[in-house]
Symmetry: C2
């Protein structure tokens, strides 16, 4: 089947031109990749783009479906593409007079910085190099291009790379050896002579032959096909896979390949390469922001080896080019209506655009840019809402350094503020050791000269990233921005000694494991650990701090949340067990409690003793006596929560965990408890043994407890209603929603309903009040979802307990799956951790079934979700789609959930 | 809603007449109950039935839905019913000249022997008793009726019963006291004088007033309404609930009430009452079978107090009545086409029919009757198949006493062969102690004078039942027959001493806890324990015993199985892990293995050591070395199984349980293992700790093992294919079907598929053979069922692992649910144990979803089930409905499953 389909496609269009004739446009990202589509779009709006063509992502898919081969029609279409470039540039591929050189770059649908490989100067060989030298009158330039090309191609396409037993890259070793032989030690590569370069090319080729077992290809078409294969091949390299996993990019998307005429930033002092942003990607300020290197190719800027200069300096050095770039910057924003991250090359004073894409930005920048662009009428308020990435939004609530503490801390270096926020940690100089330290539970800062894709795992593990070299578009800055990591880069005062595993700065030596602190908003590095304080938003909302409320960040946040409220359908509640948690969540905009776990209340102070007495009781009378002690505690807790809610509803879950969780398990603790309660130790031992279960997750818990011991539910119901009566008499509205956990059978709920309603009748009669309340259930066993039509006959609401639903539907214990889930992610069995983001295909079906069946029986049934997924943006999108009434999450996730719920609604609406 | 509906029904028909005018017929059992429908039917075919009417089961439902009240229209319809009886009998209810007396009896849809209560002689009071005396000229008879009525009504309707502090029934105490006062000690009740009886009535009424707090009702209509209420009330008594639970009768069905003119078996020597069967219900012989008591009411026969005479003696005593009964017996079988169990009363030589119903019978009787009736052309072969109750069919395979052993055993008593089979056990004389002993794990015989409904729990717990009194229609015999218990009743030589807790017989004294053995086929009682031998069917099939094959039982069984094969669509496989189990299952008619659990093979002999080495290995090399030791064992096992299968397919499940199950857990065992394997103890300890899981059911098991350690699957696959190659070269067909357990994601299966196919390619190349095999999966995680469309793209078959599917869908661990499932059954949260009979509403939905989706992706996918439910008739009916291709069960359940599968198919076919 797949083969047949592919054969039909073989007659399709695989190559899209851009330049004077442009086949594609900016909307064709899935087919042309982000880079290819935007190159086409820039051509369409008249920006200066060197001509080229894009090989579609479908070819990548074909490549992997057909044992790494290409569709038959590809070659001819590529030839036509090369001919079009030749026509526009007047050069010819492999020509001995005016040879065309091309770059070959990857370009996936979403940009994947640093992940894919690039080949420059393709088309050079021993003949064309001479032609280039002659044509440009610059043999040094030509041979330097050739040297770079052989090195890059040898590395990326032919796999000549550092072996574990080597200290350096083999090509670098060849260069160092030559410099040593010719007494050039320490000179820059740019100072190598034509003869040096010729010798290097020869030695590089010999190295390639030795290592790769075959000669370096000299025919340009062989070079081109090899490079295209290498780009496709790199789609499945480890770094790309790690990246895709972190950002949940399906491997099926594939990458496109862009073949484009070369332009040169390294032809002399009127040339250069740069990377820029239409606004500041770290904090969102509307300014031309970026950096460049004179007399350099683009790769040099991103690699972070030489520290580039800010674009503002271009104004002085190449004012015409600067003016052109300013024009381009505005054109780009007007066209793409978003902050752009673009690459340019200046060849002999002429600006060429090599790429543009929506710029990655920090959550803080995203907030400011979205608010500003709406003010500028570039986007409407709904788009502004959509522009804030919900999964990074929590960064805005992350602590900053405590102003008092930070004033006392010694600043040891300054650098570029590449990832805002505050982070303290023990420094590690290598990714592996950083990961190991983080796994030991340490707080880690990754400190390096510069970072490269190999450091990705270490960056993920670290609280913050600190580099001595590289600018705001260096790998470290890009990745930190995207991940929301605190980052200071280019802190040149740091001497990072990989060998000695120390960082020397300001006359001090910091060993691995020593503490440093970095302020990624201010670009400052401190010695030691610095205390943090709440972010302005938290300070404004929770602490009612007037100064914080005046900050732009706070005002922008409030504006965004106002829009979110206007856009949203699904409201956000919170999971809270105390009045304080409740107050915080309400301050963050929660409109009630979606899950109040009553068992947490039994652990405080003396309560646990009464709870244990209850569990150890072997008669109903003794159990009721112990429960009577617990009742006032619960009543007071509920009253406090009701007051904090200020009239909002509270879903209160009755006792859920297995009873053994309340009893001590070690002999010492058991003896102590025995003494305290005045019972023989063996009574406790035997009860613990009796309560032992092989699979407690599937044992005597949830409503099974309330059914076995209805007096527990009766006590809890009485505590709820007594508290409600008290608070209602104080003049406040109270809306308890009692939730019976783990219901799989309607009859279970019915039995508990009787107990609850009886308590309600009793309390209302005793207290002479009328109470409004609901009784519902958690849908967390698959059977509950499958028989939701029956259960909804009795349940006034459902709350999806997606944690347990996931555990049961997948047959995976959250506590135990650590032994295989990481491997499952690596093998792409699961695309995302199903306990973090709901498994829509499996668990999601159960939710959909329950929603449909529940509404069949009770059209106005209230539907919510209170599992961990309630604070996860991807899951919230799903819950909006199935039409839940609310999600519930922990207090500090409430803003994220509000944003995600609003975005989900906007995405769901027809016409948007 | 329910109320409104019921009010509409209030205008309906609640009372159905029978007699000269008959409203109902035999097909109306749901509405009229079994007794009412058959009374109507007997009237229609002209049998002599005293007139009466039936109050429908809808009234019972109404009664419980409306706080034990009746529909408004009921009273008027009952009055019309009484009028009709009056008209036909010429008597009048409450009349002072010719008073009508009636019986009031329950009658549920399915007969529930001994469960419901009956009132006789209703309508008597101080006035009508005189009229009856005058009319019959028999004051003794009239007063005896009155005495019985007050006693029965006082007991059943007014609740005057033995209190825990009393030794005897209070009415019996009154009788004994009177006898003592009047020096009548020891005389039979029939010898009491009219004066005695009058005095008894007075004292009974005083007792009622004292105990019940109100006077005995004298108005006949008050009596009647009270009796009807008592029948409905008894529907919810404990005995009835226990019975319904055992036989899975929904409580919603309710019971009908039959009100019928009295006829008298106690008017003298030309009168009597009896219970009879149209064939022998214990062994199926075609003979008039039953028993009667001269000058007795029906209750006396069933109560087992007097031992009745066989019906054959009626031929001599009342030849005309005997002739009439013989005629009726044939009429009944011709009309009902099934063996009937009927009650009759002879009043002054005239036969009256009080009831008929399909007779309960042993599995052995069911088999013979079904085969015989087909030969007699009373029924067709399909009906014959349906007539064998599948859930009792296993009885036919139950062991009998070993002929050699039983010849040496001392016969200590003989009785009626009331429940065929052989049972040895320790005797207990009371239900509570029998239950307690069984719970301790003892094999128990319940030995009693006679049994009553109070003994039900004890009867369920016992291997066999032995009574000293009572005939083949006594309570003990009826219940034993229905439950398939071995039973000898009426073994009059036994002296059962409840007080001393001993049984004295043949000069010996047997204390509680002493062994006895009973042969319920021969009616013999032996001292001590007697060894058993396989039943004729097992001997014939498994042992190829020629003598066994000549028995009628064996031949009937073979005939039935032939018909089953003709009727069935869904075939039966077996769960077998050894060649012997496989051979047995094939002999029982299995057509392959549905589940071969490979882990069982790792426990035998030295293998466990290699297995443990494999688990303890911390390198791939070490693991592979240990696996290499296991390979030959597995290969030999598989080869043995393939040979035993004789070409049938074998579904082989790869390693499934968590690895810790293979390691020792106590310090002693760990030390021993350390010594044996030459590794430090702490390596073992630490591995055990590392493998510990909170919920192993949801942990690292199933295919997760094979994915973590592909070399395990590779070894298992190689073992399967090498064994297949060996046996195939021996000239036998081999059909391995490799089953990957616990698949929830298609990718899991895909990864294991690669390993399996690689092993297949390797072995085929090495051995130069071509092997046919399938690879499929177990659907046992809910996600597997929900994404069956995806999984079926890779799976060539599904086997439903309904054990785990039940555990996960219900969130109930089989091992842990013992702490609440019994209560769940009592509260009717679950109707049946979901681990014994599939929970069709919940788990069944997952099966249906998977079947539908699986077939969508792969129309010819093979579908089976290998959980415990594969041997359960009720579950098999469901699997037939959803269209599975096979069920798989343990070898000794294969015959049951074949019968159940055939019956399910017959029930499913349109037009049947």
């Amino acid at each position: 089947m797949a083969k047949k389909k592919a054969q039909q496609k073989a007659a399709g269009k695989y190559v899209y031109l851009f330049g004077k004739k442009t086949d594609g446009n900016g909307s064709m990202k899935p087919l042309l990749g982000g880079k290819g589509a935007n190159l086409a779009e820039m051509c369409r709006i008249g920006l200066p783009v060197p001509p080229g063509f894009t090989i579609t992502t479908e070819v990548c898919t074909y490549y992997y479906a057909h044992k790494r081969t290409y569709p038959a029609a590809l070659r001819a279409q590529m030839q036509a593409g090369v001919a079009a470039i030749e026509k526009q540039t007047g050069k010819k591929f492999g020509d001995l007079k005016n040879p065309l050189l091309v770059s070959v770059r990857s370009g996936a649908r979403d940009s994947m910085p640093g992940m894919m490989d690039t080949i420059l100067n393709l088309g050079l060989n021993d003949q064309t190099v001479e032609a280039l030298a002659k044509k440009t009158g610059n043999p040094r330039f030509a041979w330097d291009c050739y040297r770079r090309f052989v090195q890059m191609y040898g590395d990326v396409v032919l796999g000549v790379q550092k072996r574990p037993d080597e200290d350096h890259e083999p090509f670098e070793t060849v260069i160092e050896t030559l410099k040593h032989e010719r007494h050039h030690e320490g000179i820059e590569d740019t100072k190598l002579t034509v003869e040096d370069l010729k010798e290097l090319v020869a030695r590089f080729k010999a190295l390639v032959k030795q290592r790769a077992g075959k000669a370096f290809p000299s025919a340009p078409w062989d070079q081109l096909m090899g490079a295209v294969g290498a780009v496709f091949g790199s789609w499945m390299n480890d770094r790309a896979i790690v990246y895709r996993r972190k950002y949940n990019i399906p491997s099926e998307w594939g990458t496109a390949v862009n073949v484009q005429a070369m332009v040169y930033g390294n032809t002399g002092d009127q040339s250069g390469s740069g990377v820029a942003f239409t606004r500041n990607p770290a904090n969102g300020t509307k300014e031309f922001y970026g950096e460049f290197l004179i007399n350099a190719q683009g790769e040099d800027v991103v690699a972070g080896v030489r520290t580039p200069s800010p674009v503002s300096e271009l104004k002085k050095q190449l004012p015409k080019a600067y003016q052109e770039l300013e024009r381009i910057r505005h054109t780009l924003e007007r066209r793409f209506k978003d902050m752009q991250d673009f690459e340019f090359t200046i060849e002999d004073g002429i600006v060429y655009m090599l790429q543009t894409r929506n710029g990655k930005r920090t959550a803080m920048a995203a907030l400011k840019i979205s608010i500003d662009m709406q003010k500028e009428r570039l986007i409407d308020w709904k788009t502004a809402v959509e522009r804030n990435p919900a999964d990074q939004f929590e960064q805005l609530l992350a602590p900053v350094f405590d102003p008092a503490e930070v004033a006392k801390a010694p600043v040891i270096a300054s650098g570029l503020p590449a990832g805002p926020g505050a982070a303290s940690g023990r420094i590690y100089l290598n990714a592996d050791r950083a990961v190991a330290a983080a796994e030991r539970g340490e707080q880690v800062l990754l400190a390096r000269l510069e970072t490269s894709p190999e450091d990705l795992r270490g960056m993920i593990a670290a609280e913050g990233i600190l580099t001595a070299r590289g600018g705001v578009s260096s790998h470290a800055a890009l990745v930190a921005r995207q991940m929301g990591k605190v980052c200071v880069c280019g802190a040149a005062a740091l001497e990072v000694d990989y060998q000695g595993r120390v960082v020397r700065v300001a006359g001090e030596t910091f060993k691995e494991g020593d503490w440093m602190s970095i302020d990624g908003t201010a670009g400052k590095v401190y010695a030691g650990q610095v205390k943090t304080a709440p972010s302005e938003i938290v300070a404004g909302l929770i602490d009612d701090n007037a100064a914080a409320k005046k900050t732009e960040k706070f005002r922008d946040y409030q504006q965004l949340m106002k829009w979110c409220d206007a856009a949203t359908r699904m409201v956000v509640r919170t999971n809270a067990d105390t009045p304080e948690q409740t107050r915080n969540a309400i301050a963050f905009g929660a409109v009630g409690i979606g899950l109040c776990r009553t068992e947490h209340m039994f652990f405080e102070g003396d309560r646990i003793d009464a709870m244990r007495q209850m569990i150890l009781a072997d008669t109903l009378v003794a159990r009721k006596a112990a429960l009577a002690k617990l009742l006032p505690y619960q009543r007071d807790d509920f009253a406090g929560i009701f007051r904090a809610l200020k009239g909002h509803p509270a879903t209160i879950r009755f006792l859920d965990p297995p009873l053994h969780e309340f009893l001590p398990h070690s002999p010492d603790q058991q003896q102590a408890l025995a003494k305290k309660l005045g019972v023989p130790t063996d009574v406790i031992e035997s009860r613990v043994r009796q309560l032992h279960e092989f699979n407690p997750m599937l044992g005597l818990r949830g409503c099974r407890l309330g059914i076995a011991f209805p007096e527990i539910s009766a006590m809890q119901a009485r505590a709820v209603f007594e508290a409600a009566a008290i608070v209602q008499k104080e003049g406040m509205k109270v809306r308890p929603e009692i939730m019976i956990p783990l219901v799989g059978f309607k009859k279970e709920l019915d039995l508990q309903l009787e107990v609850v309603h009886q308590a309600a009748r009793d309390v209302q009669a005793e207290q002479k009040v009328k109470l409004k309340y609901l009784v519902g259930t958690m849908i967390e066993a698959p059977r509950g979802a499958l028989t939701a039509d029956e259960i909804a006959q009795s349940a006034e609401f459902f709350s999806f307990g997606t944690n347990d639903l996931t555990q049961m539907a997948l047959g995976m214990s959250r506590d135990d799956s650590g032994s295989f889930l990481p491997q499952y992610a690596e093998l792409e069995i699961v695309k995302k951790n199903p306990f973090a983001t709901i498994d829509q295909t499996g668990v999601g079906q159960l939710v959909e079934i329950a929603v449909t069946k529940g509404r069949q029986s009770r059209p106005n049934i209230k539907l919510g979700i209170c599992g961990e997924h309630g604070g996860d943006p991807a899951s919230i999108r799903f819950f909006e789609t199935v039409g839940l009434d609310y999600v519930s999450c922990s207090p500090y996730r409430v803003p994220v959930a509000r944003l995600a719920a609003a975005q989900a609604r906007l995405a769901n609406k027809v016409g948007r």
